[in-house]
Symmetry: C2
Amino acid sequence: MPTIRPAAFVLAAALLASVPIGPAASAQSPTTLAIIPAPTSVTRASGRFPVDTATTIVMDANASAAVEDVARQLADLLAPSVGATRRLAAGAAAPRRSIHLTLSGADASLGEEGYTLVVGTDRVVIAANSPAGLFHGVQTVRQLLPTSVEYRAALNRGLAIPAVRIVDSPRFAWRGAMLDVTRHFLPLDAVKAYVDVMALYKLNRLHLHLSDDQGWRIEIRSRPELTRIGGASEVGGGPGGYYTQAEYSDLVAYAARRHIMIVPEIDMPGHTNAALASIPALNCDNKARPIYTGTRVGFSTVCVESDTTYAVITDILRELAELTPGPYLHIGGDEVEKLTHKQYITFVERVQGIVQAQGKQMIGWGEIAPAALDPSTIVQHWKKDSSAVHAARGGKVILSPNTRVYLDQKYDAETALGLKWAGLIEVRDSYDWDPATQIPGVPERSVLGVEAPLWSETLYRPSDFQFMAFPRLVAVAEVAWSAPAVRSWPGFRTRLGAHGPRLSALGVNFYRSPQIDWQKSGFIP
Amino acid sequence: MPTIRPAAFVLAAALLASVPIGPAASAQSPTTLAIIPAPTSVTRASGRFPVDTATTIVMDANASAAVEDVARQLADLLAPSVGATRRLAAGAAAPRRSIHLTLSGADASLGEEGYTLVVGTDRVVIAANSPAGLFHGVQTVRQLLPTSVEYRAALNRGLAIPAVRIVDSPRFAWRGAMLDVTRHFLPLDAVKAYVDVMALYKLNRLHLHLSDDQGWRIEIRSRPELTRIGGASEVGGGPGGYYTQAEYSDLVAYAARRHIMIVPEIDMPGHTNAALASIPALNCDNKARPIYTGTRVGFSTVCVESDTTYAVITDILRELAELTPGPYLHIGGDEVEKLTHKQYITFVERVQGIVQAQGKQMIGWGEIAPAALDPSTIVQHWKKDSSAVHAARGGKVILSPNTRVYLDQKYDAETALGLKWAGLIEVRDSYDWDPATQIPGVPERSVLGVEAPLWSETLYRPSDFQFMAFPRLVAVAEVAWSAPAVRSWPGFRTRLGAHGPRLSALGVNFYRSPQIDWQKSGFIP
């Protein structure tokens, strides 16, 4: 990871010049800090900032509730070493032995999510333009602390932060993961645990695939049969499950504290058998379809010629829009085999109108690109498609190329879980690609970001989901966040090896890829 | 693992002579089968028994509900390949392509827990003297199947069992694990997950440490203040928790299906601060003690001169006895610093009477040995103590030497979790010792078995508990089950390496000890 000093850093360093930092320790390579995703700029200094009972966490006098919450999460991480957070008096400087979270002094070029972090032997300052930037800065602090910080009850954790100056901001605005909770239902606690790990790696979008042929996973109060019937099945014949609206809202809030937005998907017009089994009127023959617990795709569709269908869709999307503070509703749109092209396109355009009437932006899988989409609509590329058409009309594209980031695909021929129709995907395959050149006709300016879907046909236990996601999702996080100049497979591979103990400490059942030299301690030797 | 053919095996082989088995494949070493704990005798043959939709699981016409339940658990493991289990007609032979569970034909010398397993290319027979023996035989079958069998939703699992003849029975009757759910509370689901892994390794006793200075974890209906006050704290100030009687009974039944007995411990007269905080009358000054959330020991005691104390203890042990079908009540008795020797001994003897009045056998930590114990009372050795005195009076001893099987001790100097007052304990330390020679004056005939305690001062997440327990508990399982002649560190080390993927498939966050060559597939190369 080369050291880069963009203008923002020079400015920040000048503003924070009162922080005492020793001379740069040229003998130490920057890559000995195992930060993932790689920051824009890392400059090591000598010495360490010890975290102990003398350490305080401070914020500015006028800090908002959101800033205070970031401070509280840092205090929780460092407990019991560090006590309550506190506000500085108006105009007061941060005291010695403090970690200072501030919205002053960060350069505008860092954007909404960037931050600067200056760790001196006597003081730490995280500066950003928003609470999200401070939160990301805290995640970097966390990764600079030893793995022991992740063990809530471990004794004598020996917490200290190496002196360093970091300037950092994301390459892409959309850094996402998708969970398929339909083929096998994933309990809320397991989703929250997934969110926890996403936050550590500065991912900011969790796309929930909430409906499919095998199950319906979100309570719709005006259409209770969707969960009563469609919520009680899954692949293989298990009991299924669903989230109540209260649980969904709880998850939205849980993710929001970690600066992750929930993006709900109701897949349509295909992948709808669970709905077709629940509401007979969604079928052109008005007959409920039988529950389906296999793994085929493409066989289902709602009746696109019936006004009843659109009334039901409106009810569903209205309730989902009310529950979802984020601006996006994902309507799926993939793998429809039972409609003509014209029927399909007409359906997509009509649903786009329904989404917009709810005040939301529509997202759909790549198949929707040929429709007359509004430029504000977002296309999620997953296989060879017409994304370039959407880019040409000024629309944005989320990249989920199945040969790179489909986390349900096997790592190698020995992987017992997963599928392999898109190929075997080892960690390096998920890492070693550039979003700017992935699709002809979709240049970097048209790329909103990257998202890694995890389909769950073969996944049963929460640990199964984790095994397929990690560490590939960590690689995807760096693809989405880090500038090309600071990304390299050898560097990532080394840093990831040092993250093994941290993932283990978080209880993540990750794949010990033979491509990685997994370290026993959290340090790079 | 040398091949041994005891009398029991020859008999079983004769009885099962109708099972077609190819000639012994001398080119294949028996150790290429990764069975833990090592069986008494393993003889490989050629060929495999494929498990597919043509496979059936059958039991004898007169099979009990307990046998049927073992068959059902095997069917669940093999689903969806194998359908429902079925009973044979009276006197009918098991058909081709069947796995036959039978209580006929096993030699009496196999005891209550032993079994024979004969896998031919066309038929599998598990024979035992009890459902427990059949259950253990099923665990061996499970370990002979590829790791993919543990993934409930994986596709194309390729299930097949290598042809083999196994005769097996345990060395010790008591093969235990202890969970400290007091210092940090462990939710019921996490305890069940622990039971699941114990069952795979033929452990048969789960000792629950239900009360200590920092928390009270079991509902006592006649003394509700114990959980109302004492149940709401834990080390570090977290919320604590407790099991209702219904939850405890649910766990007893869950474990019983897996042929594991629950052994409840109420620690007394010391390690009682949570009770002293809940019930003022347990203190000689009649004043409730403050809640304690630190990690010191030895400071607490109930008032041993007060009849009220014994009335409370009687209430507690009566309710616990009613909830516990197993014959044992553990009364702790360790680390008492606030009583004279005479006070302590008198207390232990009086409590022994209370336990016996409930129709139960008493167990206590090694400190109780100098009291006038009934020979039916069991002493649990954990440090240098007077266990030999108890052995000399004909009593039995459970071995929990802290330098070998204290799972809360660090693996090495880098381990962030755990303590180290008993020393660093790597996997080999937990494996390489002989219960028959561990304590001078306690010969093998006095050793009831082995138990590995997991104290939880430093453990917070369920994955923390797993990290410290595994793989050391797997080593202890072999120490307790396997005959000295079939045990060796090189053999165990190789087999354990092949169990890594299986533990991962079960979602166990285990320590990747550098002493082990962890395999990526479940096979020994």
